[in-house]
Amino acid sequence: MTLVDERKHASGQRPGWANEMAAMLDAYQQAGGDPGALQLPEVATLVVSANDVLVAHEIPGVHFEAEPLEHGVKARISVEPGVKIERPVHLCFGVIPAEGVQEIIADYEIGDGAEVQFLAHCSFPNAIHVKHHMQASIHVGKNASLTYTEEHYHGQTGGVEVLPRAEVSVEDGGRFLTTFSLTRGRVGRLALDYVVDASAGALVEMTTKAYGTGDDQISVTEVVRLNGENARGLTKTRVAVRDTAISQVYTSMEGNSPGARGHMDCTEIVRDEAEARNTPIVIVRDDQAQVTHEAAIGTVNRKELESLLARGLSEDEAVDLIIRGLIQ
């Protein structure tokens, strides 16, 4: 069984589909994905190359509606209320050529009481000048659970501009857990911007990891508003920058209701001529809410470094290992 045989192009087979699909699968693998998982009939899969929906494979309880735009795709992804999806839903976005623009407008609807994991891989392996803009609207229903893991691979040239933006609302008792990783290859320019509103008893956990080298630019903006009673939020940011890369992390957590608990945790490692900035904003509007933050920005811990040197690693090897450990 192959994808070519079993998975039809969303708008019907067309010449060149197989080649493009093969290229996307290679890119998917480079981004850390497992192409084999895309071939399993029980796994819901959406594969988008530039503005072409190559695969939209639904399973019971998971639905895709996708339509091409001039430079991308507009997609609605929904999970029916009450269903628990056993295997992660795989999303694969990418641009294979060296130049191009991909705009994804995505609307995620997770029904009340549903449980689902998404594994999204975004790959731009040959990028010289590629723009990838993602505008997502995510709604997590009452007592629903969404785990969204997104991994990027941008090739080695730094010629990618990625702007993931998401507006997320988590209803009462819902869970929204997300991890964004851009730790392999060059970053290029990343401007991540997420805003999350959490209702009563909701849980929000956001982890962001990025490793900038060369003249990469990393900007992370995360705003979590704990609006409901006993809502809980955690942002965890791990960024490393080397050479002349620049990172700017802006996190804001609001405790707006009784019992709301939030914490922001940011660690950044700086080497060479790189620069890292962190701006945590804590806002509390209720005397029974609590929000805390901790941030550590600096070079590699000397003791950690010497421990690895004492095993025979060079300084470069040791620093790289420490950074990769931090952002894994």
Binding site: N301, R302, K303, E304, E306, S307, L308, L309, A310, R311, G312, L313, S314, E315, L321, I322, R324, G325, L326, I327, Q328
Partner: protein, 267 residues
Amino acid sequence: MSEPLLQVEGLSLKRNGCEILHQVNLSIHPGQVHALLGLNGSGKSSLAYAIMGCEGYTPDSGRVLFDGQEMIGLSITERARLGITLAWQEPARFDGIPVGKYVGLGMTQPDREKVTAALEAVALPAKYYGYRAADRTLSGGERKRVELASVYAMQPRLAILDEPDSGIDILTLGDIAMLVRRMAVEGTAVLLITHRDEIVDTADVASLMCAGSVLFTGSPIEARRYFTTRCIPHVESLGIQPWDKTDPEVQAALASNGIERIGDREG
């Protein structure tokens, strides 16, 4: 007797204007376990860092010869690649680095079986610990055992073990002692910094440090006796009680030096 693998000659070191090592002389032979005893702050760890080449511990004078080659001026990496390594008293924590990977770092050819054997030598089952991160989720004792396992897996020519026994439960002390002996049998020279009798007993030779100087070198029993009879009375006079006087050997040493009244005073 073979030529010394490590020779420290007249080593002196100042930090922040204070002399923390003064004319230190020490020799360790291949396959020998050399215990280094002394009170807290006597310079044991500083000597270890100076031998390893850690930042801020470059000697002001003296020599560190390893297999006849001068080490001063070489980086930590260069010294490690010649066969010297160090297990820190308080090992660093590493986010995201699995224990198994950390243990295998110093091996010339990383080998899963050897990593497993090294972990089991410190009573850490590889199937439970191999994929855990060597981070803050490990207890202090577990992290120290991981550190020892990584030194053992490296098969260095000289292992400097800085208090491998502190924070280790009593049941595991025997494993640590056995591992130290096993390393020696397999050809590794061990410089063993310790306060524990059970661990001192694994040594072939022991030196006693005080105020940055090596006061005495001899058999472990002699060194402990020297410590008991010369150092303890001095410390007792300062009102500090670092040694277990319920130990029959300590009591005997105290008695033979006419200081049994110290025990009486406690009662």
